[in-house]
Symmetry: C2
Subunit: 348 residues, 2 copies
DNA sequence: AAGCGATGGACGTTAATTGTCCCAGTACTA
DNA sequence: TAGTACTGGGACAATTAACGTCCATCGCTT
């Protein structure tokens, strides 16, 4: 039932919006009993004329009865409302989550897809699909797009498709090697994205574990300098997020650092930085690339991550406060919103 | 799955139409492989500009890849197409039936609702719903609407709702008493419709079995003459259809007539007339009201009937050739289309 | 190399949507 | 019973979106 809507949304993006609008009107009229057009328009804060169009439509469909004394719901309309109620409740649950997260973390946009990436691979795919579509929408011209690694980003890459608008873009890894397995490395993701879209890409060839001297000498290298310049020019970055300790283990962070992270309460990891619950950076992976100050100046920071287990981590990264757009799934969103409420309680 | 589509059909029929359009385009492109915009427009008979809008949209959604050499479907698009196929088939298998019937019988409009009225009462309700909505759409001003009896028409009456546009109308029974039970008599239906819509009505008080002299004297009666005049003025008639022998039995037609009907191959009954397979009238019930020549002059003859068992009967009435609009269900439509094909075979 | 068919841009025209009043009713109240 | 505060529907200008049409440029094939 839900997936039908997901499918339709691709062909009719404003389907849900229209459905919601008409449902709301119908619902309001049922509750009100007999109500006037202008009153309706006022209550649902839209204009009289638009409300008139909708009412005309709903009347035409036989869902409303409109008399000189006002508008009331018809028997058919009442029946429809009963049938559609569970569906709408389900749907608006998601939009409600979106709004709550958007407002609380002051984001430009939040998209919550139904399901739990921890449980269903399909949900993760949808995360990728939505992530790809959002990325596509925010690319305005030839520009540099910084990406990170991870399985979610790999999924985003999978769902990109060629487009002339993207032809002039350049995908670059946000930071150097972070010890991921090859297929989940930022390098791989960037090249996949470029291949899928027909764009170009640059790779970061940086050894995983880097000593200080090596680091400094690397910064003298021409090709490294060039790609760093690219990254600094990026207007868009799209990245995954993960649980701190899980990522540390996966990236074979040394025992000492891991212990410190654990001790300091590291919760989340994103583009090579580790965050605690308050969104404060505890540690950065020893590699080159995107810096914190670069992120702050980005026009468009897109975070994509889902799964109930990642809820807290995502919240921590959002707390950091430099995200613009979040793409997540229902399970993670619910987790985040619950913690958000708990937080309020503990403060009061 | 089906009910969600049913809901959407009521709440956003316009969006479903665009969904179909976009699906058709996507489908066509998948089949064609690489195809040009103008070729597309020609094949799907729309204009180049409109096709361009749609292609732009689908490209934006990442469902198409458009290059200088033409348009092809993307991986995402192919996936979507697979997912949406059953849904569309469900939705438009019916439209295909509609089109076949409409073209073969040269009708203005055919609506096929999903299901089988023989099996499900819900399907019959939907038949009524659609019938009512079509009736509503075809009423332009204050006018006379002739109706017949039967359970389907009762359902239509149930789903009518008040409307100022209908206030000035007058519902009249198409023909006098036809021996139906009270709640299914045309008289009852006409009065129900009038009450539901806030319109007026006239009744036909005619004894069931009528001798010739009685018939003649009845034609002198003032009130009878008045209502007959009304009927002759009707621009719209909405009627049910039934199986001939079933109707004869239900209406207690005398044994001799029944035998003749059976012998002559009576298949269908509508507004008191009995038809054979070729749509030729075999017999008319001895009562007053709507005549064949009246039907021929009507602007809008709406037939409503469904159920697999009625398929043949409906086909016979359509063969008669004076219907404008048909509302039926999936089971009956399939039955009719199959017979239609059989007919072709036997001719070749 | 030339020709055909492709997309994408440009722009005037047309159609639809929308904002805004007003009018003729209806229901409720004083 | 008279008045008031609503109601839907009609009308119309203004704005906006959609559409038709033409042309430039690009890519592939012959």
């Amino acid at each position: 039932m839900r997936d039908i809507l997901g499918i339709q949304k691709q062909l009719l993006p404003d389907l849900l919006e229209t459905m919601k609008k008409r449902y709301t009107i119908l619902h309001y009229i049922r509750v009100s009993g007999l109500v006037g057009r202008r009153t309706l328009a006022g209550s649902l804060n839209t204009t009289e004329r638009i409300m008139r169009g909708e009412v005309d439509f709903l009347k035409e469909q036989g869902l409303l009865e409109v008399e000189a004394s006002g508008i009331r719901i018809s028997e058919t309309g009442r029946l429809l409302l009963e049938q559609i109620e569970p569906l709408v409740k389900d749907l608006f649950g998601l939009t409600e989550l979106q709004e709550q997260l958007r407002l609380h973390y002051n984001l430009k946009q939040v998209v919550v897809v139904p399901g739990d990436s921890d449980v269903s691979a399909h949900t993760k795919k949808e995360l990728g699909l939505v992530g790809a579509s959002i990325l596509r929408k925010h690319i305005t011209q030839d520009e540099v797009i910084a990406v990170t690694g991870g399985s979610t980003m790999a999924e985003v890459a999978n769902h990109l498709s060629p487009s002339t608008a993207l032809k002039g873009c350049i995908f670059v890894p946000a930071r150097g090697g972070l010890g991921e397995s090859v297929e989940l490395q930022a390098n791989t993701i960037a090249s996949t994205m470029a291949k899928k879209t027909g764009a170009r890409y640059r790779l970061f060839h940086v050894p995983d574990q880097l000593g200080e001297e090596a680091y400094q000498s690397l910064l003298q290298d021409g090709s490294i300098l060039e790609i760093i310049a690219f990254i600094r020019n990026a207007r868009i970055v799209i990245h995954g997020m993960g649980e701190a300790m899980l990522m540390a283990r996966r990236r074979r962070v040394d025992a000492a650092t891991t212990a410190i992270l654990q001790q300091d309460g590291a919760l989340a990891e994103a583009f090579g930085y580790y965050f605690d619950r308050r969104g404060i950076i505890l540690h950065k992976m020893p590699t080159v690339g995107l810096r914190i100050e670069d992120i702050q100046e980005m026009d468009c920071v897109i975070g994509v991550a889902g799964g109930k287990s990642k809820g807290e981590a995502i919240a921590a990264v959002l707390q950091f406060g430099h995200e613009d757009i979040l793409v997540t799934d229902e399970a993670a969103a619910i987790e985040m919103v619950q913690n958000l409420h708990l937080g309020r309680h503990s403060l009061s």
